[in-house]
């Protein structure tokens, strides 16, 4: 680095910015949401990963953490919320319930068997509930995935 000039690939620069300012949506469904709140609070401090600013509206969020039991009644709302988010958007499915129905998968007449039935999921975090470390690992996995994406090359240059 000389004379105040930084050389970087446009895609990598973009990704570096995106992955370190992941804004999740304020959105929790059941007991897993308590663990998500603990992850955002002082002890585990999600802001260290640039991910602690929980947005109050889906329009400004990049990340939806589906933390909890997705009932069939809620599933329709989850879908609407996902569609309201601006591209590029990511989904973390947190906990067994959101992954595959969790404790309700045999008798749960009212529970959706996995949130991936309604929205595409990027990272699954197993556990009931997952510890904050597990959620943080899920977020770091997502950041790795984002770092390897080539949005400009794939979406704009190819279609230009």
């Amino acid at each position: 680095m000389q004379d105040g000039i930084v050389l970087a690939k446009a895609d990598e620069l973009l990704n570096w910015g995106r992955k370190n300012s992941l804004w999740p949506m304020t959105f929790g469904l059941a007991c897993c949401a308590i663990e998500m709140m603990a992850t955002g609070a002082s002890k585990y401090d999600l802001e260290r990963f640039g991910c602690g600013a929980f947005m109050a509206t889906p329009r400004r969020a990049d990340l939806m953490i589906v933390a909890g039991t997705v009932t069939l009644k809620m599933a329709t709302r989850v879908k609407v919320l996902y569609e309201q988010m601006a591209e590029p958007k990511y989904v973390i499915s947190m906990g067994s319930c959101a992954n595959k129905g969790g404790p309700y998968w045999q008798h749960g007449y009212h529970v959706l068997k996995g949130v991936d039935e309604v929205v595409p999921v990027d990272v699954y975090v197993p556990g009931c509930p997952p510890r904050p470390e597990a959620l943080i690992e899920g977020i770091m996995t997502l950041q790795k995935k984002m770092a390897s994406e080539r949005l400009l090359a794939d979406k704009w240059v190819k279609n230009a």
Partner: protein, 194 residues
Amino acid sequence: MLSELSSLINSKVPNAKAEVINPEEGSLGEGSILVAPESIYAVCEFLKTNDKYSFNALQVISGVDYLECIEVNYMLGNFDVNNPRQLILKTKLTDRVNPRLDSVCGLWHAANYQERECYDMLGVTFNNHPDHRRILCPDDWEGFPLRKDYMTQKYYRDMEVFPDDKMNYEEREFIVRQKQMEEDLKKRMLERGM
């Protein structure tokens, strides 16, 4: 207190047919009073306005499906510091197709949500209820989940409830067993003429 109260109800409310149900010998639990479903509003009104007992709080309304009848339970209370008391009031509805009861929302506002839940889970309709809708299940849900003969719907708005590709083998066995049990139940009920 129960027998005294039930005879008081019988003398004040015609057609109440109040009787005391004591817990079975050797089992725990409290006794309760069973009344006829048609007189539920009158009985509740009496229990609330009566000077001696005055049950001014409705704690819970719940329901049980016993196949031959649907039982609705009311837990009434009075939190008087010197003389706290409570009462379990029961009524039995024999009509499974269209069970009906009078709403007690006019007496206790707390009955509103409780009756809606009873409707949602067991399909008991409450006459004169100010806001008679489902409370937990979505409005377009089919069936009443706490009924013994409840069958889960296959799809809810194009979402499959038990997707085949997400069930493992043991799981599928369970569902087959459950379906068999439900068929047996239906058959038994037909035999009993219900």
